[in-house]
Subunit: 212 residues, 2 copies
């Protein structure tokens, strides 16, 4: 039994090694141009060993995305139900957590891969939508409703618009990733400031002469 455990641990560790190596190589080249020879070398194993853990290149890619993307939105619901402070501070707190997540190099690389190559794998898209997008949008909706109930968010066309398209609250983070993936060398974005500015704008609005 202990042997079996030991074996299982070894296998799990090796699998993790492979995924880490795959992330490096896929992120550097994109799916189509990434070489499995490079993944094997990076992982310190022979190419044949890859095929003991993953059926083919696509399975490796999908495994990579799935295991790195899934944990992202889990925390939000817990935070929301516990949080006692104002909606504004709740939004800022969650935005800070989200920003920290997407600034983690691994997560950033997985997001870039999902944006650049992910849409070519329908099963992956479905998984992503189910495990990440749906709970994420639900969390945003919950925040807005909580804010309206507490009288901190206006029950007006503005909040109706956000409830209709909760994606708008995620838009700045997507923009950050795409911008810095493309223009990082030429005009890097101050990601923290950008997120702050977005929240400021969203809460206050632009129109002059606004009344409560």
């Amino acid at each position: 039994m202990q042997n079996l455990t030991r074996r299982a641990l070894d296998k799990a560790a090796r699998r993790a090694d492979i995924l880490a190596a795959a992330l490096t190589v896929f992120a550097a080249n994109g799916f189509a141009s990434a070489r499995l020879d490079d993944v094997a070398r990076e992982a310190g194993i022979a190419k044949g060993t890859l095929y003991l853990y993953f059926a083919d290149k696509q399975a490796l890619f999908e495994g990579l995305i799935k295991e790195n993307l899934a944990p992202i939105p889990v925390m939000a619901d817990d935070v929301i139900s516990i949080f006692e402070d104002t909606t504004e501070n709740l939004i800022r707190a969650l935005a800070g957590m989200l920003l920290a997540r997407i600034q983690t190099p691994d997560v950033r690389q997985v997001m870039q891969l999902m944006i650049a190559d992910g849409y070519r794998f329908p099963e992956l898209v479905a998984f992503h939508y189910r495990e990440v997008v749906t709970p994420g949008l639900a969390a945003i909706t919950a925040i807005v409703k909580r804010g309206i109930a507490r009288g901190e968010i206006r029950d007006t066309p503005e909040s109706a618009a956000l409830l209709r398209h909760p994606q708008m609250l995620f838009a700045p983070f997507l923009t950050i990733v795409v911008w810095n993936m493309t223009f990082h060398e030429i005009a890097p974005l101050d990601e923290h400031q950008f997120a702050e500015d977005y929240i400021t704008l969203l809460l206050g609005g632009l129109r002059a002469g606004e009344q409560a």
Copy 2:
């Protein structure tokens, strides 16, 4: 002389044929997986002919992006300097034009290619930044300043945030493209409604109890 003109026209037309075929094939497969054999067949020419018009696969890709992306922001400045109506209507008018642009299939495909593959070609990134992004951000800045000068946009931290990061006004359009490129089959976005909702939110803001 007439012959020469005739020839030149033929060549230009053929070049356009090739670019159109290349857009189809690259958009369907991405840069790395696209086959030049397919481009040639789609264009109705032999593969060798491709190389009479473009040095290699990369040059074809770059030509494709450059010729389709460059014309986008030219119009904005003209519109802004002529426009007489309120800032709100100016923003809605420009958003409508932008939406129409990115809903054009060719433009949509080029944007997707730029997002998915573009960042791997530094010269292309520099071109894109210089010819599209810079004038686009300048146009947004001009709109906001005009609105403040006319007293229609509040001269507050909100507008300061937008002036610091004019990208925020383009963010919804980027979100639309990325969302529908990934989730179109599974949960298509109503692009027109999304753009409207974003403007509504941006102008009015979420916070309750707001004063002028």
